[in-house]
């Protein structure tokens, strides 16, 4: 299985988003690089709105992620509740 990844800027907004992603994806690994965090995961990575909301204590629209994203890899599917990155092969 190939690796998907998402990289986010390091800032106050993304601290909890990164925590939420790692919580929901136990197989994911966070790599801290200068000013950014790159999260790698085998095969699939799911970002869940509810988990982020629990951690930040307010309603969250997953499209807000647009502001902090640096790069990603994999096929993407986004709904109101989840953003999923995946490879089919």
């Amino acid at each position: 299985m190939s690796t998907v990844f998402i990289a986010l800027q390091t800032n106050e907004d993304t601290r909890q988003i990164v925590d939420a992603i790692l919580q929901d994806n136990p197989h994911a690994v966070a790599n801290e690089q200068p000013a950014m965090v790159k999260i790698d995961a085998e095969g699939k990575l799911v970002v869940r709105r509810e988990t982020i909301e629990e951690l930040i204590g307010r309603p969250y629209d997953l499209q807000e992620m647009q502001i902090h994203m640096i790069t990603m890899s994999g096929n993407l599917d986004q709904t109101d509740d989840e953003m999923t990155l995946f490879w089919n092969a």
Binding site: S2, T3, V4, F5, I6, A7, Q9, Q33, P34, A35, M36, Q63, E64, Q66, I67, H68, M69, I70, T71, M72, S73, G74, N75, L76, D77, Q78, T79, D80, W87, N88, A89
Partner: protein
């Protein structure tokens, strides 16, 4: 009093459907092929435009909301950076040369990308891709503008950036990125989407932006880091668009597969050749390195690109053949590029230099198979000569590749001691290439590349001197005339970093910033 009941909001999928579908009408008194004249001639067959979907499901209202927030963040940081004389906090004034390379080599491409996506969006009959192209077109002009704003701060203090757009259209090595993009926008809308949307944005853009922006962060350049990240937040969307476009075209008709494969092969190679500039920036121009070019290539192309092409295999798409040659070049690319700019340091809008002892040790460690054997002896010789006041400036113009327009500096695949020469006879003339891949691109479309504006040949034709120059007068100095045509000042914008005005000013100002004088 009636209770106000909050209206149930549409879900993301419904909202996307409402905002990007059913926006068109069937023309009754114009023919479709007159309204969309460029949609058929490339041979791509599309049966159902509605099958195209933006996986982010971003709609224009949300787009404006998030883009304006990005702008607010960016400009507040830029203001703070300028107000605190942030330019004096970079690691070393040599670093600024990466900014010069970026503003003259890359930012003008952002503007051309803006035009390209506006054009492609206009030509596609499907509203889904049209909306996505509109957003990307707006993103690209935003990038061009924010980059110019951010870098204008440096232009107040340092040399070589004052006329970046003029330089982009004229300076010999800037014809490499310029001709790359010119090639893309003069193709049809589908090839443009595959070239820039997929091959460049998806396969290669990480190698441009991530190391560059991380490098800026690592070297204390908050201005560049901020515009870089702001642009990069759009890139994630562009990459997704690029991948969706490819999947969409491939799913529509099996006859599209060989056409798309040829474009991927061509544009992966074309883009990789442009990234030569990034390779040398990472290994030589960042005073504090983030990762080597070779490491970045392994992470972002070999691993990530490998996963991508494995995923696309089910459509019948394979990894471009050029990947094999690129793997052989990864130990050599940045060194051959920096040697080239050291050679021609009298004709550039930035400074060049020889790495110091520590930097050579870093290069030896990162490139154990190539650096000490092939490049260190050359560098040590140049350094000794420079110390004796005999700094090497190559004043004779080089032979260029007809396709990528880079001088023939690359070595034979597998033999780093021999320059790679390739040639083709076409009609009356000979054409020369740096590689089998550039040769193949020419052979596929010779009529396009025989028109190439090759800077060296243009200089010899007399087209690169200021108006009114008489090259026949006694003692005519062509290099001086060419620099004038470039709007570059000899001794100020070019030559070695050692002894440059940038070096002196940075030292003096940095001193003032840390002492009470």
């Amino acid at each position: 009093m009636d209770m106000q009941v909050a209206k149930k909001k549409l879900g993301l999928k419904e909202r996307y459907a409402v905002m990007t579908r059913g926006l068109d009408w069937k023309p009754s008194y114009q023919k479709m092929e007159d309204i969309y004249p460029y949609i058929a001639y490339e041979g791509i067959k599309i049966h159902d435009w509605d099958k195209w979907e933006d996986p982010f499901r971003l709609t224009m209202d949300a787009y404006w909301k998030y883009q304006s927030e990005k702008e607010r963040k960016l400009y507040s940081v830029l203001d703070a950076y300028v107000q605190s004389n942030g330019h004096l906090n970079v690691t070393d004034a040599r670093y600024l040369n990466t900014v010069k390379l970026f503003i003259s080599g890359i930012s003008p491409l952002e503007y051309v990308a803006h035009r390209g996506f506006a054009h492609a969006g206009r030509q596609f009959p499907g509203p889904g891709p049209r909306v996505a192209c509109l957003m990307q077109s707006l993103d690209e002009i935003r990038h061009a503008q924010t980059q110019v704003h951010a870098v204008s701060n440096y232009n107040k203090y340092y040399n070589g950036m004052h006329d970046f757009h003029h330089a982009h259209d004229r300076v010999w090595f800037l014809s490499v990125p310029k001709s790359f993009f010119d090639d893309a926008i003069t193709a049809g809308p589908f090839e443009f989407m595959v070239s820039i949307g997929f091959s460049f944005e998806y396969v290669l853009t990480n190698l441009l932006f991530v190391p560059f922006v991380s490098g800026a962060a690592y070297n204390g350049d908050m201005g560049t880091m901020t515009f870089g990240f702001s642009a990069q937040s759009d890139e994630a969307r562009h990459m997704t668009l690029g991948l969706e476009v490819i999947k969409f075209i491939l799913q529509q008709d099996p006859a599209n597969v060989p056409i798309v494969q040829r474009w991927i092969d061509k544009w992966t190679w074309r883009g990789y050749r442009v990234l030569t500039l990034v390779a040398m920036m990472m290994d030589y121009m960042l005073p504090k390195r983030t990762m080597s070019w070779k490491e970045a290539w392994e992470v972002y192309f070999e691993q990530n690109g490998g996963a991508l092409f494995k995923d696309l295999a089910r459509y019948g798409i394979k990894m471009p053949d050029c990947a094999a040659q690129i793997a052989l070049e990864k130990d050599h690319l940045s060194h051959q590029a920096w040697s080239t700019f050291y050679n021609y340091g009298a004709a550039t809008n930035f400074h060049s230099w020889m790495p110091d002892e520590d930097e050579m040790a870093w290069l030896s460690a990162k490139y154990p198979n190539s650096f000490d054997k092939h490049y260190r002896p050359r560098y040590e010789f140049w350094r000794e000569q420079a110390a004796k006041g005999n700094r090497f400036y190559n004043k004779t113009l080089p032979m260029l590749c007809q396709t990528c327009q880079i001088p023939l500096v690359f070595t034979e695949p597998g033999d780093p001691t021999k320059i790679c020469y390739r040639e083709v006879d076409y009609k009356e003339d000979k054409y020369h290439f740096c590689s089998d891949h550039c040769k193949k691109i020419f052979e596929d479309e010779p009529e396009k590349y025989v028109q190439a504006w090759l800077p060296v040949h243009q200089i010899y034709q007399g087209n690169c001197f200021p108006e009114g120059t008489d090259p026949t007068v006694e003692g005519f100095d062509p290099l001086a005339a060419v620099l004038k045509y470039y709007h570059l000042e000899h001794g100020r914008d070019n030559l070695d970093f050692e002894g440059s005005e940038d070096q002196k000013n940075f030292e003096a100002w940095h001193g003032q910033a840390t002492k009470n004088i």
